[in-house]
Symmetry: C2
Subunit: 149 residues, 2 copies
Amino acid sequence: MPRTDMIDIKEAQEVFIDCLKSRGLRYTSQREAILETFLSSMKHLTVEELYALVKEKNMDIGYATVARNMKFLVECGIADEIKVGNKRTRFERHYGRQHHDHLICLKCGAFIEVHDSNIEMLQNKLAEANDFVPQRHKLEIYGICRECR
Amino acid sequence: MPRTDMIDIKEAQEVFIDCLKSRGLRYTSQREAILETFLSSMKHLTVEELYALVKEKNMDIGYATVARNMKFLVECGIADEIKVGNKRTRFERHYGRQHHDHLICLKCGAFIEVHDSNIEMLQNKLAEANDFVPQRHKLEIYGICRECR
DNA sequence: GGTGATATTGATAATGGTTATCATTATTGT
DNA sequence: ACAATAATGATAACCATTATCAATATCACC
Ligand SMILES: [Mn+2]
Ligand SMILES: [Mn+2]
Ligand SMILES: [Zn+2]
Ligand SMILES: [Zn+2]
């Protein structure tokens, strides 16, 4: 694991601990394991996948605990939810990252991260032109990735 | 109801009938009621809402029949599915309309239809730059609409 | 360190939307 | 009319998510 990731995890840990404290909540060993496993993976994980990863580290943990705490990570700004269709919700790191959108492969399910500030700018103009105050958006392009062709 | 909508419904009816025929399926009174009610509404409807509308026209019909046939309408290119978060799937007319995206109000749930060909063009370039063959996309901007401010 | 208050955990049940099942009814072609 | 096939609709099954709650762990305070 590269050093920068270690530093990121330490920082995120502090953010998480502060966020929990401000709500009268505690930083438990389960929460530490979930946070570290999540941030180390660098993938777009489901609760089930993360649950399996935490258990691999000979950590005895319950599915509900993982699910519950991923919600807290989202509320604390450390994780983001990704909902595609009716499939299981996935989570990705949010803290320390910039906004991005996704190209999603219909064959292998890969998430390719992209960003285009021109598109973002035009989106804001589009909202403004409709007297609409934008708060967030979701752009997903579905198709076939390089490897699947 | 404006005349153009009547014509639209007649056209869509033919498309639906042809699509059903090509699959060895039949055009029933329930399917007619679902199609006409759906196309007349001009809204982004859930199965439940459409089910209620069909029943209002003193049509005795089952929920499963509405749900099943909305799937057929999608497969026949007459309707489009809209899935936002984990909320119930909504349907809108597809046949005879051009592609558009949505501004979605977080307060009242309104769907404002928008289109920006520059954004669409940039999306295609973005996909191409990543060696990705786009097939479809979903752009949703969440915020507060004019009426809710 | 002991104590009472409060939060956490994890097994399991409940929920809610969607889809499948299947006996009954309707339609079709001959 | 008959046999074949599809459609319907009540209900059950499914599945991801969320709620419940008894048992356990942690905290603040003395
Ligand atoms: Mn991502
Ligand atoms: Mn629309
Ligand atoms: Zn792929
Ligand atoms: Zn609104």
